[in-house]
């Protein structure tokens, strides 16, 4: 009897940090944001409840377009991160020697030790009109005029891929490491070409890692703020920037909260659609044991 109580107590105590974290830092703020988003401002310090903030969002094309643009660019970044990250992950997990594996993994991690801000400035120093790349190209005579590579959507995408690629590589490595080399050998022995082995054996095996990595990178990209703002140019709106503007520049917490809720719902919808289209589910990929 005593033993069972003690067991239950230790379970509760062990569970507590997790419950507090989820409750206080995730659920409660979301509820607060949801509450504020349903508040309509009718005058100074006068509020009513209703869906006016959501109606405003739908009726203003700027906000809709920015959200769609953000989602579209985030999908692009996710795809590019997958294409660039898969070979790296495969090399670390399957080709590299066990001894160099840790060192390679560490090299992928190192950029993460520097803050986003510094990394964005790194790109600025490289890509600006009087920056390293442009100056070098002029001095070796490849181009006659300095060129501006900053302030375009392309720069934003490069910067974002660089920022998030690690979150694609890590789940891929851990999935691929579990793959038995015998599977590949069997594939080749049965007459499969490299492409067939890749398509029929490696990709299906890596699917949990691909799905997990894609979800993480997509969410991180859609919610990023610094990189798009610093590298983006005069035409590059990003949805998080709109949220910042609503909260800070316009003192409009109601609209900002509405945008926050919509961003969460919309990105969740995109993830769900992605799972549906690829025929995957969370249970068979991310939560697979």
């Amino acid at each position: 009897m005593m033993g069972r109580d003690a067991g239950r107590l230790s379970l509760i105590l062990l569970f507590m940090p997790f419950a507090l974290w989820i409750g206080l830092l995730i659920v409660l703020p979301q509820l607060g944001i949801g509450y504020v988003s349903l508040r309509e401002k009718v005058g100074i310090n006068q509020y009513e409840f209703g869906f006016k903030n959501y109606a405003d969002f739908i009726s203003e094309p700027i906000y809709r377009n920015t959200l769609l643009r953000t989602a579209w660019m985030s999908i692009l970044v996710t795809a590019l991160a997958l294409i660039a990250g898969f070979p790296v992950a495969y090399y670390i997990a399957k080709i590299a020697k066990t001894r160099s594996r840790a060192a390679l993994f560490l090299m992928c991690l190192i950029p993460l030790w520097v803050s986003d801000l510094v990394r964005a400035y790194g790109w600025i120093v490289l890509l600006r009109e009087t920056g390293v790349i442009s100056t070098a190209l002029v001095s070796i005579g490849l181009i006659s005029q300095p060129i501006e590579m900053l302030y375009t959507d392309m720069t934003v995408i490069i910067g974002l891929v660089y920022t998030v690629i690690l979150f694609m590589i890590v789940p891929l490595v851990s999935t691929l490491q579990g793959m038995d080399d015998a599977l590949l050998e069997a594939g080749y022995n049965l007459g499969g070409s490299r492409f067939t082995v890749f398509r029929r054996i490696i990709v299906p095996y890596a699917m949990p890692g691909i799905v997990a990595g894609s979800i993480i990178t997509f969410m991180l990209t859609a919610g990023s703020y610094l990189t798009p703002v610093l590298l983006g140019g005069k035409n590059s709106s990003w949805f998080t920037e709109q949220i910042y503007n609503q909260f800070i520049t316009r003192y409009n917490w109601e609209a900002g909260a509405t945008f926050g809720v919509l961003l969460l719902l919309f990105t969740s919808l995109v993830v769900w659609l992605g799972l549906l289209l690829t025929g995957q589910s969370l249970a068979t990929t991310v939560a697979k044991d």
Binding site: I44, N245, R250, Y251
Partner: protein, 356 residues
């Protein structure tokens, strides 16, 4: 077990109280460069029982932070004079000043009166001036010798070589350049909206001309010093700093008048160190400290000989930029009525989202 716990708790409490008794903390919420280390150290030497903690911010974030906490968390804030009235009315985040504790007689009388007029609510004064400066344009005179006003930022002559900050200042500047007086339209939301619409169209057409929108002083300095941009909207203080590195880059008060702001001292409603705050206010306005402060901020202190007290390089820059006619033509930002910033916000978003 419980006795150990109790001892520990008691020990902690004693330590906390002792800590509290030894040092009072003055939590400043101010602009980047408005609390230079040299001055903070000097202050802490003079008042060993006060610790100064500095948080750097800007007008919008100051209001947002204080609104989020109901005016607590900071003991002294420095919003600009036009951003206090509406924020106080709507969010009640400041408390009235006790003017008897401030050396008001050492400040420039017309600035004190101006700030008082802007920040008096129900007979209570909420702010006194600290430093003032202007917004205008800055040009590299070798490449853009003829720039005179806000409108030149959108001139075909400088295509791809101009910059501006996409905030309310440029809306107002462009309004003046188009022959309006935005400050007089503040009271009439419809007329103001009509002006905003015109300015929005102008600035959308202007996107072809400008290279990029700058977002902060460092960003702007890099654009100007590298020569990537030859003409830009600017704060005068940033222009003065650049002038000390490259004498070709000067601040130009626009022909319609430079837009003048006054950063103030204002005490948040939940401030817990009012006396320390008053000490800081009086301390930084002493002549010997004004020079240290202005060397860091590039702005002019609200004391009668503020320009003379600038460090030499900054004074040279100010004298190169302003003559008496420019000073007489200053347009001080008028109090922003509640709701106006929402209208401006949507205009700014339209400009940012438009592509051509």
């Amino acid at each position: 077990m419980t006795s150990i716990l109790r001892t520990l708790l008691a020990g902690t409490a004693v330590a906390l109280m002792a800590g509290g008794a030894q040092a009072e903390t003055l939590r400043l919420l101010t602009w980047g460069s408005y609390a230079p280390d040299e001055l903070v150290q000097k202050f802490e030497e003079e008042y060993p029982d006060i610790d100064v903690e500095v948080t750097f911010s800007n007008n919008e974030e100051m209001i947002a932070k204080l609104r989020a906490t109901g005016g607590t968390g900071f003991d002294l804030a420095q919003p600009s004079h036009d951003r206090i009235y509406a924020a106080q009315l709507e969010y009640n985040i400041y408390k009235p000043l006790d003017l008897s504790k401030i050396d008001v007689d050492k400040m420039t009388p017309n600035l004190v009166e101006g700030v008082k007029a802007n920040t008096t609510i129900d007979g209570e004064v909420y702010s006194v001036p600290h430093q003032w400066g202007t917004s205008g344009i800055m040009a590299n005179v070798k490449e853009a010798p003829d720039a005179k006003g806000w409108g030149d930022l959108c001139s075909e002559t400088y295509k791809g070589r101009t910059s501006m900050r996409l905030r309310r200042t440029i809306l107002l500047g462009m309004g003046f350049a188009m022959g309006k007086n935005p400050f007089e339209l503040y009271a009439d939301p419809e007329a103001y909206q009509a002006m905003l619409d015109e300015v929005t169209d102008k600035l959308i057409a202007c996107k072809d001309i400008i290279k990029t929108y700058w977002t902060g002083g460092d960003d702007l300095s890099a654009l100007m010093l590298s020569g990537e941009v030859v003409l830009s909207e600017t704060w005068d203080s940033t222009a003065y700093k650049i002038y000390s590195e490259n004498k070709d880059i000067v601040f130009i008060p626009p022909e319609t008048g430079a837009l003048a702001w006054i950063d103030t001292f204002t005490i948040p409603r939940g401030g817990q160190a009012d006396d320390a705050a008053y000490k800081w206010i009086n301390f930084v306005l002493r002549p010997e400290n004004v020079t240290i402060m202005s060397a860091s901020t590039g702005a002019i202190a609200a004391v009668p000989n503020g320009i003379q007290l600038l460090p030499d390089d900054k004074r040279a820059a100010v004298e190169a930029a302003f003559d008496q006619a420019d000073l007489d033509n200053l347009k001080f930002f008028a109090n922003i009525p509640p709701g106006l910033e929402d209208m401006e916000g949507i205009a700014l978003e339209r400009i940012k989202a438009a592509s051509n």
